[in-house]
């Protein structure tokens, strides 16, 4: 059984006991435990079920590479699936449950798949489940989906918060092992601003477990001193519980800080995503041990040798009483020694190398441990936990020499540098034949904006597995990074340490080397996704020869550990089957993040009300108080209508319109874009931007204008006022202000840069309020002031500056409703007061605000177009019969050339008309006018479409605007428009001006 040892546990605070639950059972652990170590200490070895065959799974690792020990953690709004037990720090009250089984971890119906293993090889699903056709969606897919997936889906809204953080540094060091610390120090000594991050809560990495000496002191002491030194350096920032998640172009780095996953009761954000810009990056990300591929290597109790060592040394946990060690390198002997020193048994060390190990092997033997060279495991025995191993010769086909009882197996297939962060942004790898791993190729580093390398590797991540070599390499890497970041590297020498030579490792990609199909089908490569040696060989046999094909066909390396344990073994298996050298097969692409990071941290603070910036007019608070029904328009929210108690939106809109038509009402038009265009060439410039002639506009007057893009299509419209000889004020649509301002700047800066024009977007400098209706003038007159706003004093399409009441106002006599109407701009700071003043003055006329829907209906009653309704990016002014707004005198304007192209000049284009249904009903939004017959693709022919359709309270009937083939020539004709239910509605083609055709109402 796995249990807590009386001694050991470097990271534990045994004075502090913690209580937690797993699958409803109550357990205790210590402060400093991980969830995995605490579960092991309670003899809970089995922690989950695999993805495909639902096989029992215990932890195989002790860190971020763990593929098996994933749990549903927490409850309610703090629930999180797929939490890795090996990287979850234990806290008091932690609740978790195992995943991917039904009804229980111990008895899982899904495990029936396990007995079907032979029928479910790689990619079997591509070869079956095809008949009958509907069965995939209705029968097979639901079964596949139910048995796949791992953790449960969260149910509740996230109860935690997250935040983003920016950092600009000279050197980022990823990894707080001895190499990372050393590199940070070397870089820091140069004066460079250094940020060092470590994904765990502890500094020193593997060296703290493995020991050794640096500068004449035990490495643990050296690390402690180094940390203290770094903490004292002002230019160095240390952050633990922070992982280098990704390296992106131009030195962009993501740091993922788990601020209080270990202390959920504390306040503050749960995770913090650091967006870092670094001149140089040092990846000191260490190395990960590889499993060995032998039959039964997935049975709970079979673990990486280093992991078993970690559990003993760091957490005082023994995985088993009798641990068989199997290896192809010297490092695993450290595990045997550590176990033995902890007072546990190591029945045998199986060293696959015929020549066996070096000094460490001698040390093991000296401790009385039996060592067998040239031997391996034929098969692990056991179901939910290891019960023994069958030994065989590595060179053979698996003939069993001996069976040994044990309850744990420590395996080591060699070490692979963590090259992920090096590779994210294009760093290339080289195959190290001696150590049988890929390591970064410094001559092909990722390059930055200046074309120079911006990532350096240090320590075991660089293939220097020996402590002394690693520390020296890290020192050099730190110096190099500082130099590349523009600092003078320290002259201080690297610390002294003696190499500890080991016997050469020998690659072992299959154990035994000649294992037959019955063993290969049980030799796991990817534990979580259940990919075995047999699957990779099958993929190669079937022609899925590219490493990417193999990965995708077998799902190797696609699990939540992203192949940290499986990729190299899988690759080597593939290469073996293809009879090709490993480097020629290549690796799959390393993609961020290094380990999964929370979506919450990526989203950051932006959620709910602050999901996006909210733009508010000066009058927004008033709309809010009135409980207006808002609609989003760009980043604004505009009142759609102001429903009164018991009123539907439709009723509110009707009331607002009738009030406007009959008396007076008001609109917050502040969101309309307002752009000042000023300079001696302003008129000439606007002549290019608008289809109309603007240079002839007289100061004091307004003109409605259209803007097209160079492709000829309408992009915006609005009223232009000439302020003085040099100055125009251009109104744009609400959504268009920033875009049109950018558009103007584009032409001024990049095409006509010698024209003397400046622009300024003053949209938010003014509040603009439209006062609309037959009584509009009376309301303004009541307010008083010095402005003559009489019919003659301020004529239609004129504007004026002056005082209205006490307000500094600019009044435009323009109308989008056909009513007598003034749009009055006041400084934004006076907007709300002005609004209130109008409300008060208008009280006797029953003044009320109206929203965007009433605005839309009233403009449609008048046949005014709306950008976004009558236009959709494919409509030109000619389609809308707006030739009157296209100057014939101008040689050029934006869009003019485009409109000369054959398809745009064609008389066959659909033209704007009005539609009146014969039965008075409202045509559905988006309806098409149907025509006879079908086109060559069997689609019903059409002859037009509705662009705007409303119930008109003024006329008490449905009205619509539409684009219709030859529409203007077909007045009075009846056409049919489709409904989605297949029926149609008949409508007569009419003039699009439905109300007050002669414009008498606005001209009073």
């Amino acid at each position: 059984m796995s249990t807590r040892l009386a001694q050991g546990g470097r990271l534990l605070n045994k004075g502090k006991q913690l209580h937690f639950s797993f699958n409803g059972k109550q357990f205790t652990g210590y402060e400093g435990d991980t969830l995995a170590s605490a579960l092991l200490a309670n003899d809970q070895l089995m922690m989950g079920r695999s993805f495909k065959y639902h096989r029992p799974r215990g932890p195989v690792a002790s860190g971020a590479e763990e593929p098996n020990a994933l749990v549903n953690l927490g409850k309610g709004g703090n629930f999180e699936p797929n939490q890795r037990a090996t990287t979850t720090e234990l806290f008091n009250g932690l609740t978790c449950e195992s995943q991917n089984h039904w009804p229980s971890l111990e008895f899982d119906v899904g495990a029936v798949n396990n007995y079907m293993t032979r029928f479910f090889p790689a990619g079997f699903y591509y070869k079956t489940f095809m008949f009958p056709r509907a069965a995939w969606k209705h029968v097979f897919e639901p079964i596949v989906r139910q048995s796949a997936g791992l953790g449960k889906a969260p149910k509740d809204r996230d109860a935690d918060t997250y935040e983003h953080f920016y950092a600009y540094v000279d050197v980022v060091v990823m990894g707080g092992g001895v190499a990372g610390l050393q590199a940070a120090k070397a870089a820091g000594l140069s004066g460079a601003k250094v940020l060092l991050m470590e994904q765990t809560a502890h500094w020193g990495g593997r060296s703290m477990v493995d020991g050794g000496e640096v500068d004449g002191q035990p490495v643990a002491d050296y690390v402690d001193a180094l940390v203290a030194e770094l903490e004292a350096m002002e230019n160095v920032t240390l952050r633990n519980r922070m992982m280098g998640a990704g390296v992106y172009d131009h030195g962009y780095v993501l740091g993922y800080e788990r601020v209080r996953d270990h202390a959920p009761l504390e306040s503050g954000p749960r995770h913090r995503l650091w967006r870092i810009r670094a001149k140089q990056i040092v990846t000191a990300t260490g190395a990960i041990e590889r499993p060995l591929s032998f039959a039964g290597n997935d049975i709970p109790g079979v673990m990486l040798a280093s992991a078993i060592r970690d559990y003993v040394v760091d957490y005082g946990v023994s995985v088993g009483d009798r641990t068989v060690v199997v290896t192809n390198n010297d490092d695993a002997y450290r595990t045997a020694i550590a176990i033995k020193q902890a007072g546990l048994e190591v029945p045998v060390i199986l060293d696959a190398r015929a020549g066996g190990g070096g000094a460490l092997a001698d040390e093991a033997r000296a401790l009385g441990i039996r060592v067998e060279n040239g031997k391996g495991i034929a098969k692990v025995k056991g179901g939910k936990r290891v019960t023994g191993v069958a030994i065989c010769a590595q060179a053979g086909e698996g003939a069993v020499l001996e069976e040994i009882k044990c309850d744990a197996v420590a395996m080591s297939g060699g070490w692979s540098p963590v090259v992920h962060l090096w590779s994210h942004c294009g760093g290339k790898l080289t195959w190290d034949e001696a150590q049988a791993h890929f390591r970064p190729d410094p001559s092909r580093a990722p390059t930055s904006h200046d074309g120079e390398a911006f990532v350096t590797v240090a320590g075991s991540a660089n293939g220097y597995l020996d402590l002394a070599l690693g520390v020296k390499d890290a020192h050099d890497a730190g110096k190099a990074a500082a130099k590349a970041a523009g600092f003078t590297a320290t002259r201080k020498a690297a610390p002294k340490a003696a190499e500890a030579p080991e016997a050469a490792m020998e690659p072992v990609w299959l154990m035994p080397q000649g294992a037959g199909p019955e063993l290969r089908i049980k030799a796991w490569l990817d534990y979580q996704n259940d990919v075995k040696v047999s699957d990779v060989r099958l993929a190669a046999q079937e022609g899925y020869e590219s490493v990417e094909h193999t990965k995708r066909y077998t799902t190797l390396g696609m699990a939540s550990d992203q192949g940290k344990l499986s990729n190299i073994n899988g690759l080597a298996t593939l290469a073996g089957q293809l009879n090709a050298p490993i480097p020629s097969v290549g690796t799959t692409t390393f993609r961020p993040p290094y380990t999964p990071i929370s979506m919450g941290s990526i989203a950051g603070e932006a959620r709910g009300d602050v999901f996006q910036p909210l733009r508010r007019t000066p009058i927004h608070a008033w709309h809010d108080e009135q409980k207006a029904f808002f609609e989003p328009v760009g980043h604004w929210r505009r009142p759609y209508c102001y429903p009164r108690t018991g009123e539907s939106h439709g009723e509110a809109v009707k009331r607002e319109i009738l009030q406007t038509r009959n008396s007076v009402s008001m609109l917050d038009a502040s969101t309309l874009g307002k752009i000042i265009v000023k300079g001696p060439d302003a008129g000439k410039f606007l002549d290019m931007l608008y289809t109309n002639m603007m240079s002839t506009l007289k100061p004091g007057r307004c003109r409605y204008g259209l803007m097209c893009n160079e492709n000829g299509f309408l992009i915006d419209d609005g009223v232009v006022a000439r302020i003085d000889e040099d100055t125009f004020l251009c109104h744009t649509t609400t959504g268009g202000a920033e875009r049109i301002h950018g558009w103007m700047e584009d032409w001024l800066q990049c095409e006509w840069w010698d024209w003397k024009v400046f622009t300024a977007n003053v949209t938010e400098q003014y509040a603009q309020i439209a006062i609309v209706g037959p009584n509009a003038r009376k309301v303004l007159e009541k307010l008083g002031g010095d402005m003559d706003i009489s019919k003659e004093g301020l004529t239609f399409m004129g504007w004026k500056d002056g005082k209205i009441g006490d307000f500094d106002a600019r009044a435009y006599r323009i109308s989008f409703s056909g009513e007598l109407s003034y749009e009055i701009a006041v400084p934004a700071s006076q907007g709300r007061a002005f609004w209130d003043a109008i409300l008060e003055a208008g009280e006797e006329f029953g003044i009320m605000p109206y929203g965007t829907e009433a605005l839309h209906v009233m403009r449609a009653e008048k046949g005014f177009i709306m950008i976004g309704d009558e236009t959709d990016g494919t409509v030109i002014p000619q389609d809308l019969n707006m030739q009157w707004a296209i100057s014939k005198k101008k040689e050029d304007f934006l869009g003019k050339r485009a409109q000369e192209r054959p398809h745009m000049a064609s008389p066959e284009r659909w033209k704007l008309v009005g539609l009146e249904t014969l039965d008075g009903s409202v045509i559905p939004d988006g309806a098409y006018a149907i025509a006879e017959g079908e086109n060559a693709n069997g689609q019903r022919n059409t002859q037009g479409r509705v662009t705007s359709t409303y119930y008109s309270p003024t006329l008490d009937r449905g009205i619509a605007m539409a684009l219709v083939h030859h529409g203007t020539d077909r007045m009075g004709e009846v056409i049919e428009l489709n409904k989605v239910d297949g029926s149609t509605v008949k409508a007569k083609i009419v003039d699009p001006i439905f109300f007050d055709k002669d414009g008498e109402k606005q001209n009073v």
Binding site: D249, H250, R277, H449, D450, E710, C750, W753, K896, R897
Partner: protein, 109 residues
């Protein structure tokens, strides 16, 4: 995640401060131009694998448009320069030549 130095305000701008504005040094064709010339101006693009000239705007900064010479395969930036010019400065062309001898892009080389 690019960084480009705005040649106007001098800031090394984050990509989030910038807005990409498409191919640089397009010659505008207006009324009276040939159909093909106009099509070329509006739609046909170099889209090279390698050295490219493009427009950017420091939209969340000083608001200026500018030009950049950049590799579309390595994302190396050879330089940024004024929008008020019809061709890349010699110094930037030299820099590109040093790295990619014999390069060409439209009429520039």
């Amino acid at each position: 995640m690019l960084t480009l130095q705005c040649p106007y305000c001098g800031v090394w701008a984050e990509e989030t401060e910038l807005h990409a504005e498409g191919e640089a040094h397009l010659k505008r064709f207006g009324p009276g131009s040939e159909d093909e010339a106009f099509e070329g101006y509006l739609f046909m693009r170099e889209n090279p694998k390698g050295v490219h000239f493009e427009r950017w705007r420091h939209s969340n900064g000083c608001g200026k448009f500018f030009h950049a010479a950049r590799s579309t395969t390595t994302l190396e930036v050879f330089g940024t320069y004024s929008a008020q010019t019809l061709e890349p400065p010699q110094e930037i062309k030299d820099k590109i030549s040093a790295k990619y001898p014999g390069w060409s892009w439209r009429e520039f080389a």
